[in-house]
Subunit: 403 residues, 2 copies
């Protein structure tokens, strides 16, 4: 039996995005070579909602929620029925399969809340869970927290687009040998890889055949770059018996400050998630829920511009990293870059602290996403364009100083 100490060691969060402020600078001055680099500090650990502000109307929608009063403050645990009603239609249209607002949709405190409850509803002591490597860092922590057993599946992302994707043979082997849950993100966090239509179809077929529950995190599926195609697993012909899709308006739409997300799919799992929500935090903040009325209803052209703006930052940063021979996959969607660093004279952890201390650049260590990705760093490039590009230059400078 795992002790509480071990359990919480596995949840170590000092390197988690946004927590860097709690780290001590310690002995950095003895490691540091040369002077501090000038430039506007950039925190690539998360998007900058001042550079890319919240969707128009979100503040007003919150105010409407507040004015409604008690009815909006105390919704059902799964969220206000009227909001779910409209949202289910829009999400059904977007993902290619209809959703019952009453039984197949829950509003959650952020996409993180949705993931927590989806895994809590499906993973217990000894449950074997397939987790892609690399993938969103919380997936692994959640599996461990609920007592599950990690079954790592490699995700190839550094080759040609046609070769990239999950190792489907390994996945099938895992399914055949008792893995009962699969959790993954597409677009992938941290690489920006979008699973191909054929990968998604194969995953759906395999999960249906082997009775595997699938939890698919589609947080970034709206920010799809030119020429890319997105395939929704829930629109496939052969559906797994148990499928939960997760989305939220925290990233592309910059609504993270409201803590809103949704999960939709198999009603028996949504029921469990609601029971869990009842003891976790009751509901997504009542007034905040009203902001979901604006989701997928942004002004004409708004989303297109947001995507174009991000694509421009992506392209310029890629150019800088590649000019410096740092391998970096081209994100097909979302706002993450996952460049690989060369061998350095300092350990990766110290380098990341130096980046912050000497260059004013905050990034997330690759080890958060896969134990074997210690030579990579993740950057959320949803930032002020010029500041992000300058910061990418400082990363390259520091790589040169320490290699």
């Amino acid at each position: 039996m795992i002790s509480l100490d071990e359990k919480f060691r596995a949840l170590e969060a000092d390197s988690a995005p946004g927590q860097e402020v709690r780290q001590e600078t310690g002995d950095l001055n003895t490691l540091m070579r040369g002077e501090k680099l000038d430039g506007i500090p950039v925190d690539f650990s998360h998007g900058d909602v001042d550079a890319f502000p919240p969707t128009p109307g979100s503040k007003e929608a919150f105010k409407d929620g507040f004015e409604i009063g008690g009815q909006q403050a105390y919704t059902e645990y799964r969220g206000a029925a009227s909001i779910r009603e409209d949202l289910a239609k829009r999400l059904g249209t977007f993902t290619g399969r209809s959703i019952s607002a009453d039984s197949e949709l829950i509003i959650t405190p952020g996409t993180q809340g949705a993931l927590f409850m989806a895994l809590g509803a499906t993973v217990t002591t000894g449950t074997k869970v397939a987790v892609l490597e690399p993938d969103y860092f919380a997936n692994r922590k959640l599996v461990k927290f609920f007592g599950g057993e990690l079954v790592p599946i490699p995700l190839h992302y550094q080759g040609n687009p046609s070769e990239n994707g999950p190792d489907l043979n390994r996945l099938e082997d895992a399914f055949k040998s008792g893995t009962s849950v699969l959790v993954f993100s597409t677009p992938n966090n941290p690489t920006g890889l979008v699973y191909s239509g054929s990968s998604i179809k194969t995953i759906s077929n395999l999960a249906a055949k082997h009775h595997v529950t699938v939890i698919v995190d589609q947080l970034y599926s709206r920010m799809l770059y030119r020429g890319e195609v997105y395939t929704h697993l829930r629109a496939c012909e052969h559906q797994p018996e148990n499928l939960i899709t997760i989305m939220g308006p925290s990233k592309t739409e910059s609504l993270s400050g409201f803590r809103l997300g949704v999960a939709f799919g198999t009603s028996s799992l949504i029921d469990r998630m609601e029971r869990l929500q009842a003891i976790v935090s009751l509901r997504a903040a009542g007034y905040n829920q009203k902001v979901l009325d604006t989701w997928f209803l942004e002004p004409a052209g708004w989303m297109e511009k947001r995507i174009t703006d991000h694509e421009a930052i992506r392209d310029e940063m890629l150019k800088i990293f590649r000019a410096a021979s740092l391998p970096c996959a081209t994100p097909q969607a979302g706002s993450y870059l996952f460049p690989q660093l060369p061998a350095l004279d300092v350990d990766p952890h110290s380098f990341i602290r130096l980046l912050r201390h000497q260059a004013g650049v905050t990034v997330t260590p690759g080890t958060e996403f896969a134990p074997g990705s210690g030579d990579s760093i993740r950057l959320n490039f949803s930032q002020d364009h010029a500041a992000a590009v300058a910061a990418a230059g400082r990363i390259v400078k520091l790589v040169n100083i320490y290699s």
Copy 2:
């Protein structure tokens, strides 16, 4: 090992406050005697924030949070440092012992979020947890969810004030035989009992002596009625090694729609709670956190008036229940009444559904608070005064019809 099905059966939430809307009326018409009773419907399952609106300035504080932008959207998981700084001072003054804003305080998504994380940080498979009966329904569910073993301790609340309180002999026996965590609420939910100074001192001494972790839910401690005295466990001389105090502005201050709470105490437990928050929902909604800047800083006289108004409702409802010979303890704080019903011709569950269907009165079944409290119902009387009093009359009428 407990299966997921069992685990989630234990979390059954159809009778939980606010979830009644999901129940089917089913065969009620065959049970119903006589006509429906006229009157404004009252939902006693939670407070009415339209009758008792949110504290002044809360909406504006949220707006300030939104205007701050990215810094407020992405706070540390434990909450914005500047908000914690001021809040720690006010909470330290209120509870009689200073609090380190940096290491001893976490902002949570509601008091429910604080309870979830406090129990998650202290309870694992096999942990023996002392739980009072009756007490807040989620306590028992949380212990079961984390795999702990319930050790029920009777709370006497129907006698004279001097006889009321927890069974301290049973508690000491439990501590002597391996119970390592105690969770309880004072003021007690559902009875409104405030633990006496001597009970609190004894609990603190016993917990210190037997190395028991204490989680004390003080959600209602600000709404204290005339002549009552409140004792903060964390102000006692002999402190348990591990103590977490939980509060929040959802009830007395009517800020539930913002989902805000706090936990403060032993730093190693606050650390664990933050690690848990990181995978549960990242943080209390960033913009919402700013509303805590108004907490404990209400306009002069505001809190006094709120208490007087509630005391008036309490007294009139008590008069009605007692005139009908329904035993009901006098709440010393908070806004819950827990009257006991006589033997009825229908089972308690059906009676509660009839109350809703025939009399427009929603209440929470006593079984949510203790397995043996099936003959009691819980009412949150933070309602429109006249409507609440009329609804109490309809409860008495229905009791007479079915007994």
